[in-house]
Symmetry: C2
Subunit: 568 residues, 2 copies
C-alpha cells in the first residue's frame, strides 16, 4: 500500500477551520501521509498540525449552493461538477477535540473526507506514524530499556528471597501476552509454571505484581482458571498458589466479576478457583464493568459534556446516565480493598477477572499507587505503566483503536486505561502533595494511548512489539517525556514525598468529574493553568533563592505531611 | 429573663462526645449562658467550645438500660428515677457540624437537651452573645466605621457628578430597611425621593448600587413598585428613574421574578413598571427562587451530603433533586446578564424583585464582583458585604435564624446569603488568581451569618441595629478579621490584581458542588488545606527572599494575567 493512493486531494485552498473556543481561521489545507495541516492566509502561520491517526470520526455535510452537472456516461465522481457548492467536514478526534473544516467545492470536500477516513483507519501497525517519526533530539534506542524487569527484581530480591525472575516465557510460548521475564514464587520450577499456564485463560498464570515491603505480603495477578463445566483441576496451578502461603496463612482472591458472572464463565471453559482445591484462599467478588458497557459509558459522558446548553437537571441526569463516575468509584473501591487486604490484613492477594488484561491491571496498578510512595514519583509512575500496563499485556491496540465518537465501534474497544488515568486524577485531587506528577502527564498519556508519534503504546503485548520491531524502529514516549525541558511540564510543584499509604475517599460525594479531560476543549481552563504555572514559578523562585542561601531545596526541608487518613 | 433559669443542669460528668471524623472523647460537660463546653478526663483538655447559638436542632434518644421508678404522686419529672439508663443528644449545628453527646442518666440527658434548646432559641437580640463578648485584643468601636458610605460616595463623586449622597432617610422614615445615607440621582430632590419611596414596597426607592467607571453606566436597586390592581402611578418615581437616562437612552430593569409572578404581584398591591409610564426602560424577567424553595433546597442538599454510603446514582439523583446547583447557576447567570447590560451594552440597569432585600442584593453584589476588580480584594469584598448586604437591609436575623437542619422552620428563613457565598466560591474556582481572598473567608462569613460572637450580622437592618445599639455594644467582625494575624488566614496566596471583567462560565458542566462547605465536617479536607498552606509558605518564602534581593514583591512583578474570556 502506498499512502499516495489513499490521498485523493492533497491540497485545498480557502478552507475555513473552526474549533471550540478559538476564532475561525481561513487557510490552505494539506493532507500528508500522517498529518492534516492548515496554514492561514495571508499570514502563513501553521494553524493546525493534526496527526490523522487522532481522527476518531469523520462527518461530512454538503451544501449545494449552485448548479449540478451530472457525470458523463462512464465518468467517475471526479468528473461530476458541483459548482458553487461547499461542504463541511466535522472531525471528532480521539483526544475529544472537535474540528470543523468548511471546504469549497463538494467534490473536494468528499475527497478530503474520504482521504482522512482512509488514512485514519490504516490497520497495519508498521504503517503508523511512529515508524516514520524521527525527532532530531532523540536516538532510536533511547528510553526503551529505561525500566528493565531485572532492576525491579533486583530491588525485590534485596527484601525477600521468596520470589524469582523466571524466563519460562522468553519465547512467549507459556503466555503470548506476558513479557519474556516474569516474577514467580521461588519454590516452583519453570515446568510447573508452564503447566499452570495451560490452566489459565490465555496462559496468564499467577505472577507477582507488587511486593509490600512493610509486611512482606504480595499482590499477584493472573487470568481466570480454565475450570470449565467439568470442574477441571490443575495440580501445578494449585501448587503455585499453595506455595505462596505458609501453613495456616490465608490469602484473598479478588475476582473482578460478580459471583454469578464468574460461575457462568464455567460454561465457556473459564471459571474460578474452587474452595476445595485452593483451601487457603478466600474469594471476594467485586464486579467491575469493562468492554462494551464501559465504552458506551465513555461515549455517553463525552456526548453529555458537549451538550451546549443543557439545564442543570438535564446535565446531572446525563452525567448519572453515563455511569462513568460509578465506574471510577467502583475501580477505586476495589483497589482500596486490595490495598487493605495487603496493608491492614497482612494477606497476600491475587487479582483476576476473566482475561486478566483489563480490570485486573486497573486494580493492581491503582493498589500500588495507593500503597507505594515510589510509584507516585514521575519516574516510578512511568515504571508502573510500563510494567503493569504495557508489558503486562493490556491490549492497547484493540482497546484504544477508537475513542468516544467513532460510529464504527468495534467489539474490543474499551477505555479501561482512561478509567485508570481518571482514578489517578482523583487520587491527585484528594492528595495534592503526594504525587510528583500533575494533570498534564495524565492528559499526555491519554492522548498518546489513542494516537501517538511514539511506539510505546503500539500493539497489544510484548510479543507483538517484538514481531513488529517496535523497540528498534520507533521512539519511546519515555525518552521524550524525560528530556529536561519536557519533564518540567509534568511535575507537580507542590510535591512532597509522602511515605504513607494514601487512602482515597471513595464516597460518591468525593468523586468528581475530571473536567481537565472531559471539558478540555469545551471550557477554557486558562485561569486554572495560570494558577498552576504561578505555583511552578513560586516553587522555582523558592528553590533558586534557597539554593543560593542554605544550599537546601525548600521542597525537601518542609515538614512531612501527615497524610494517610482512612476512608470509611 | 435570667440565663440561669434556662439552665436545668450546668455540669454533667462522664459524657461521651462523638464527632464526624474525630475520635470520641469522654469528659465533663458544662453549660454556660452562651457556650457548651466539654473538657476531657483525665487530661482536662478543652475538647469542645461551642456557641450554643450555633445549635440548629436538638435530637434526643433515651436508652433505658435499667429499672424505672415512677414519680410519686404529685411529683415532677425531676423526681422520676431512671436508674442505669442513658441518653444520646444529637446536636445539628448551623455550620452543618453534627455532634453527639452520650449522657448518663435519662433525667440529666433530658435536662441538658432542654437547656440547650432554650438557650439556642433566645429571641431577644440583646441577650445574644455578641453583647457579652469582650475580646482583650479589640476595642468596642473598632471596625464599625471601616467602610463609611461617605468614602464610597467620595470615590464616586471624583468620577461623576450625576449622583449625590442623600440623607433623606437619616431617621429611617423614608425606608426603614435602608441606611441613613443613600446615593440618588443628583437631579432629584429629597422630597421627590421621599414620595417615590411611598410608591415602593417597604419604601425601597431606587438607589445607586454601583457606578461602572469604564463607561459611566450605573447599577441601581429597589423593591417592586406598588402598582397594584388599579395600575397606580407615581410621577416622582417615574421622574426619579427618568432623570437617570438621557434622551433616547435605554435602560434595563432586571426583575428577579417571572413575568407571571410579577403580574400576579399586582393583586397584592405590588407589580412592575409599566412600559407606558417608564418608556425608556426595558424589562427583563429572570426568575430566581428565594424563601421556602431555597430553604428546602438547602436542607435537601445537606441531607444528601450526609447520606453515609449512597450509590453514585442515588447521590447524583439527590444532588439533582436538591436543585441547589440550579440556584447557583441561575444566580450567576442573572448577575452576568446585569454585568453584560452595563459593560457590553453600556446601559444603566435597575434590579428588583418583590421586596428588594434578597435576590436583588444577590444579583447586584455578584455583578459588582464580576465587573469591579476593587470588590475582589479582601478589603473591597468586606466593603461590598457591608454596603450591599448589611446596610442594604438583607434581613439576616430572619433569614439566618435557622440553618439546614431545624425542624421548626420558620417562614422567613432562606439561605440567600449562603447562595451568594457559593457563587463567589464558583468565581474563585474559575478565576483562581483574581480574588484576593480564599475559601476560608467564605466559610467564616457563613459561620458568622448564622451564629457569631460579633455584632456585624445581627438584626435585619440599620434601623434595628441602631435601636439595639449594636455598634456601641458589640464588636465588629471586620475589626477581628483585619487584625494582621487573622487577616493572613483569609488571603489567597496566588492573588494577582486582574483589572478585567471576569466572566464566569455558567454552563452546568462548570458549576461544582462547594465541597469545602457542604462536606466540611464529613470528608477530611486536610490534604487540600495542606496544599493551600504550602502555597502560602511558598509565596512568603518568595516574598521574603525577593525583598532581600530586589526589594520587590513577586506578587507585584508577575505579568498581568490575560483574564476576561467570555462565557457563551
Amino acid at each position: 500500500m502506498e499512502f499516495s493512493e489513499l490521498i485523493k486531494t492533497a491540497t485545498v485552498e480557502n478552507v475555513l477551520l473552526s474549533r471550540q473556543g478559538l476564532p475561525a481561521v481561513r487557510g490552505t489545507l494539506c493532507i500528508s501521509s500522517h498529518h492534516l495541516l492548515l496554514s492561514s492566509c495571508p499570514r502563513g502561520d501553521l494553524e493546525l498540525w493534526l496527526l490523522i491517526r487522532n481522527v476518531d470520526a469523520v462527518e461530512k455535510r454538503v451544501h449545494n449552493l449552485g448548479w449540478y452537472q451530472p457525470p458523463r456516461t462512464g465518468g467517475s465522481l471526479r468528473d461530476t461538477r458541483f459548482c458553487g457548492s461547499s461542504g463541511t467536514i466535522t472531525l471528532r478526534c480521539k483526544d475529544l477535540r472537535v474540528l470543523q473544516l468548511e471546504i469549497p467545492g463538494m467534490e473536494q470536500c468528499l475527497n478530503v473526507a474520504s482521504s482522512i477516513e482512509a488514512l485514519s483507519s490504516v490497520d497495519s501497525v508498521m504503517m503508523l506514524y511512529p515508524f516514520f517519526f524521527r525527532p532530531p533530539s532523540l536516538r532510536l534506542q533511547q528510553g526503551w530499556h529505561r525500566f528493565p524487569p531485572e532492576r525491579f527484581f533486583q530491588q525485590l530480591s534485596s527484601q525477600t528471597s521468596q520470589w524469582r525472575l523466571s524466563t519460562v516465557n522468553r519465547d512467549f510460548s507459556a503466555c503470548p501476552s506476558y513479557p519474556p521475564a516474569v516474577i514467580v514464587p521461588a519454590a516452583v520450577g519453570d515446568d510447573t509454571v508452564a503447566k499452570a499456564a495451560r490452566f489459565r485463560h490465555g496462559g496468564r498464570f499467577p505472577v507477582l505484581s507488587y511486593f509490600h515491603p512493610r509486611n512482606g505480603t504480595a499482590l499477584l495477578r493472573s487470568s481466570q482458571p480454565l475450570t470449565g463445566p467439568n470442574r477441571r483441576r490443575c495440580r501445578e496451578d494449585e501448587q503455585l498458589l499453595g506455595t505462596i502461603l505458609d501453613e495456616g496463612e490465608r490469602g484473598f482472591i479478588i475476582d473482578t466479576r460478580s459471583a454469578q458472572a464468574a460461575k457462568q464463565a464455567r460454561m465457556s471453559g473459564g471459571g474460578t478457583e474452587p474452595k476445595s482445591c485452593y483451601p487457603q484462599w478466600r474469594r471476594l467478588h467485586r464486579a467491575l464493568d469493562r468492554g462494551r458497557p464501559l465504552q458506551e459509558s465513555f461515549a455517553r459522558l463525552v456526548e453529555a459534556c458537549s451538550d451546549p446548553a443543557p439545564s442543570m437537571e438535564r446535565w446531572l441526569a446525563r452525567l448519572d446516565g453515563s455511569r462513568w463516575l460509578s465506574h471510577v468509584k467502583a475501580a477505586l473501591s476495589t483497589a482500596c480493598l486490595a490495598a487493605q487486604c495487603l496493608d491492614r490484613e497482612g494477606c497476600k492477594v491475587l487479582v483476576h477477572g476473566a482475561e486478566g488484561t483489563d480490570t485486573t491491571l486497573l486494580v493492581t496498578a491503582l493498589a500500588q499507587l495507593i500503597l507505594d510512595p515510589s510509584c507516585r514519583t514521575l519516574e516510578g509512575f512511568q515504571a508502573l505503566l510500563q510494567r503493569e500496563w504495557i508489558e503486562a499485556g493490556h491490549p492497547f491496540q484493540l482497546r484504544c483503536a477508537r475513542s468516544a465518537s467513532s460510529h464504527a465501534r468495534g467489539k474490543q474497544e474499551a477505555p479501561i486505561f482512561l478509567l485508570f488515568l481518571d482514578c489517578v486524577w482523583q487520587l491527585s485531587r484528594q492528595f495534592p502533595l503526594s504525587l510528583e506528577f500533575g494533570e498534564q502527564l495524565l492528559l499526555t498519556l491519554f492522548d498518546n494511548a489513542y494516537a501517538s508519534c511514539y511506539g510505546t503504546f503500539l500493539c497489544n503485548c510484548e510479543k507483538e512489539r517484538s514481531l513488529c520491531k517496535v523497540k528498534e524502529s520507533t521512539h519511546s514516549l519515555w525518552a521524550w517525556l524525560n528530556q529536561p525541558e519536557e519533564r518540567h511540564k509534568y511535575l507537580n510543584p507542590l510535591y512532597s514525598h509522602n511515605p504513607l499509604v494514601i487512602w482515597p475517599s471513595v464516597e460518591p460525594q468525593s468523586i468528581q468529574l475530571w473536567q481537565g479531560l472531559f471539558l478540555r476543549w469545551i471550557r477554557p481552563s486558562q485561569h486554572l493553568d495560570e494558577a498552576w504555572e504561578e505555583i511552578q514559578r513560586l516553587v522555582e523562585g523558592n528553590n533558586s533563592s534557597n539554593k543560593e542561601g542554605t544550599g537546601e531545596k525548600l521542597g525537601q526541608s518542609l515538614p512531612e505531611p501527615t497524610a494517610g487518613t482512612e476512608s470509611r
